[in-house]
């Protein structure tokens, strides 16, 4: 569509000399952006290339000199998945992350509906307190939560980390979803009320279907937050059989040290899911991130 508009109302074509002048005045811009592109790409590309090279090659020559004569292998990934236990860690990460996303999403949506469309005593005060809780650092809760989870017998299982992520994800979720819910048309909600629909029915049949973008943004944000978390997993997942990938990669680092064929492939396995989410759902991801910039 943009090209069609440009064809109709676009500026007249620049002459060749004008284009040359334009190109020369823009050269510093292109050079600066080229430098930025290199600095942002080379670190990741270097590790990616290394993860597909045989161990002996990595020790013999640099990754950039290998590009001309590349010996491709997926052996490193096989080793990391099988012997280093990364496949178990991958499933642990999933088992930790999915409930830690769905639970706060559900509870936050329910609460956000009440904060937007039901009037009850102290509503705005309670909402403000919840917004303020958004900034409490997890460090203020680590020890008391660990004691609680030990008392409840869930410190050696996934239960503790599910609860902790849910609680610390809720304030942001309530804040984001409430800000979206109040933008829904008032007439629609009032009409449903007049028709005798209960609040639960309005929530399920009117508000949720209209709020998919906001729910997706917050869901993706929370999913990546939990998937990428290291600190909470270190404290609340005490059983090493249940460790997620972040801890596993870090443990590989101290265990294998400079064995870059294992470290590079391990780090890439850790990155696969976030990168897939990023490329598939970029719009929602950026929206969630912008909206969640208070966290």
């Amino acid at each position: 569509m943009a090209t069609a508009e440009a064809a109709v109302s676009g500026p007249p074509r620049a002459s060749i000399s004008e284009r040359i002048v334009g190109f020369i005045t823009r050269t510093p811009v292109h050079l600066a952006l080229l430098l930025i592109g290199v600095v942002w790409l080379v670190p990741t590309v270097g590790l990616a290339v290394t993860s597909f090279r045989p161990r002996s090659d990595i020790q013999a020559s640099s990754w950039w000199s290998s590009l001309l004569d590349f010996h491709f292998t997926v052996n490193n990934y096989q080793q990391v998945l099988d012997r280093a236990g990364m496949s178990d860690a991958f499933f642990n990460s999933l088992i930790i992350t999915i409930p830690s996303t769905l639970l706060p999403l559900t509870l936050a949506a329910l609460a956000a509906y009440a904060f937007s469309w039901i009037s009850f005593p102290f509503r705005d005060t309670i909402f403000l307190i919840i917004v303020a809780l958004m900034i409490v650092p997890i460090q203020m809760a680590l020890v008391p939560l660990l004691r609680l989870f030990r008392d409840w017998g869930i410190a050696d299982w996934y239960g503790g980390i599910w609860l902790a992520h849910t609680a610390f994800g809720l304030p942001l979720g309530i804040f984001l979803l409430r800000n979206f819910f109040i933008t829904l048309p008032r007439d629609l909600i009032e009409a449903a009320r007049v028709d005798g629909a209960s609040n639960l029915r309005i929530f399920l049949k009117v508000v949720l279907p209209l709020s998919v973008p906001a729910l997706a943004s917050y869901g993706i944000f929370q999913f990546l937050w939990v998937w990428n978390d290291l600190l909470m997993a270190l404290i609340f997942v005490q059983n090493s059989d249940l460790w997620p990938m972040t801890i596993k990669v870090n443990q590989m680092q101290s265990q294998f040290g400079g064995e870059w064929h294992l470290l590079s492939s391990g780090a890439f396995l850790l990155m696969i899911v976030p990168l897939a989410v990023f490329f598939a759902l970029q719009r929602y991801f950026v929206q969630g991130l912008l909206a969640g910039s208070v966290k």
Partner: protein
């Protein structure tokens, strides 16, 4: 929520005016928020208060308080703990000072680079490509960022790209994260690399909101590109810049993962920061009371930012 089956018109005819707490909708509202509030009360507010209490005591291995010590934990932390704050040497050292370096350098460089890229990228056709490249590190974990940069910083110039680069100019390879004088800057740059995408996206969106006509009018009046940036774009960006700064500051005070993975606070204690001290004292040294005092210091540093945020939130509501 059993009330869903109640038939008849709801909400409209209300006959007597009771205080709102007795009205049906009041109870329903509380029912909707109850699960979330229960989670927050038990798993955030109670621990928050407990940690404050804990900071005035000493604990045993089971994390139980065995003795009250008043403000001793705070006194030790701020005056005797040389790993946390050492003012006797010049320049001062310690985790708090390292964190201060982070506040100044990480915040300003991420902001400046994000702004620079946002301003430059709109002028070229491959804008979305360059923005995606800079933004991607935002999606991945600090653990992965740490591994990526550990590889860049490898001392062996056949492994580490940075040392390969400087050795082509005849310099000797440097162990960037193995030396006390370079480790903090190496860490800060790695994390700037990871965070610049955020600043760029926010500022780029704000830049595009500025009317093209205003800028064109200034251009026809003979304003230089620098004038346009300095006198039109920058003043209109002050709010988004504040948003980004708040985000970066909170990030920097909570900073933990990248240091834990990349250096473990070393060499020695050279790269420790506040959140790392908290973890180290509580879970490595078993000093939960002392660690709680460190956590309270973190909270006290964050509270001014929280106040700023709520004010901003309130003023947004007024205008909405």
């Amino acid at each position: 929520m059993s009330s869903t089956a109640v038939p008849g018109p709801v909400g409209r005819p209300r006959g007597r005016r009771l205080p709102s707490i007795f009205r049906r909708s009041g109870w329903q509202g509380l029912a909707f928020i109850l699960p979330a509030v229960a989670f927050l009360a038990v798993l955030v507010v109670y621990p928050l208060i407990y940690t404050i209490v804990l900071s005035f005591g000493d604990t045993n291995a089971k994390l139980n308080i065995v003795r009250w010590v008043g403000f001793d934990n705070y006194k030790t932390l701020l005056t005797e703990d040389k790993e946390f704050l050492d003012l006797d040497v010049f320049p001062p050292t310690g985790a708090l000072i390292n964190n201060l370096k982070w506040v100044v350098l990480y915040t300003s460089v991420s902001l400046a680079l994000g702004l620079l890229i946002a301003v430059l990228a709109v002028r070229v056709r491959y804008e979305s490509f360059i923005k995606a490249i800079v933004f991607i590190p935002m999606a991945i974990s600090a653990t992965a960022v740490a591994i990526i940069w550990r590889f860049v910083y490898e001392p062996d110039p056949d492994l580490g790209a940075l040392n390969a680069f400087i050795t082509t100019f005849g310099a000797d390879p440097i162990s960037w994260i193995g030396r006390a004088d370079t480790v903090n800057y190496a860490l800060i740059f790695a994390y700037v690399w990871a965070s610049t995408g955020f600043a760029m996206v926010v500022l780029s969106a704000a830049l595009k909101g500025i009317s093209e006509e205003v800028i064109e009018a200034a251009r026809t009046d003979g304003a230089s590109e620098w004038d346009i940036f300095r006198r039109i774009q920058l003043p209109l960006l002050s709010l988004p810049i504040a948003v980004v700064t708040v985000w970066l500051l909170i990030n920097v005070i909570k900073l933990f993962d990248i240091i834990y993975v990349l250096t473990g606070g070393g060499p020695g204690n050279a790269s420790e920061v506040i959140a790392f001290t908290m973890y180290d004292q509580t879970f490595q040294n078993g000093e939960a009371g002392y660690g709680a005092a460190v956590a309270v210091v973190m909270l006290l540093l964050i509270i001014p930012i929280m106040v700023f945020n709520i004010r901003r939130f309130r003023s947004e509501r007024v205008t909405a």
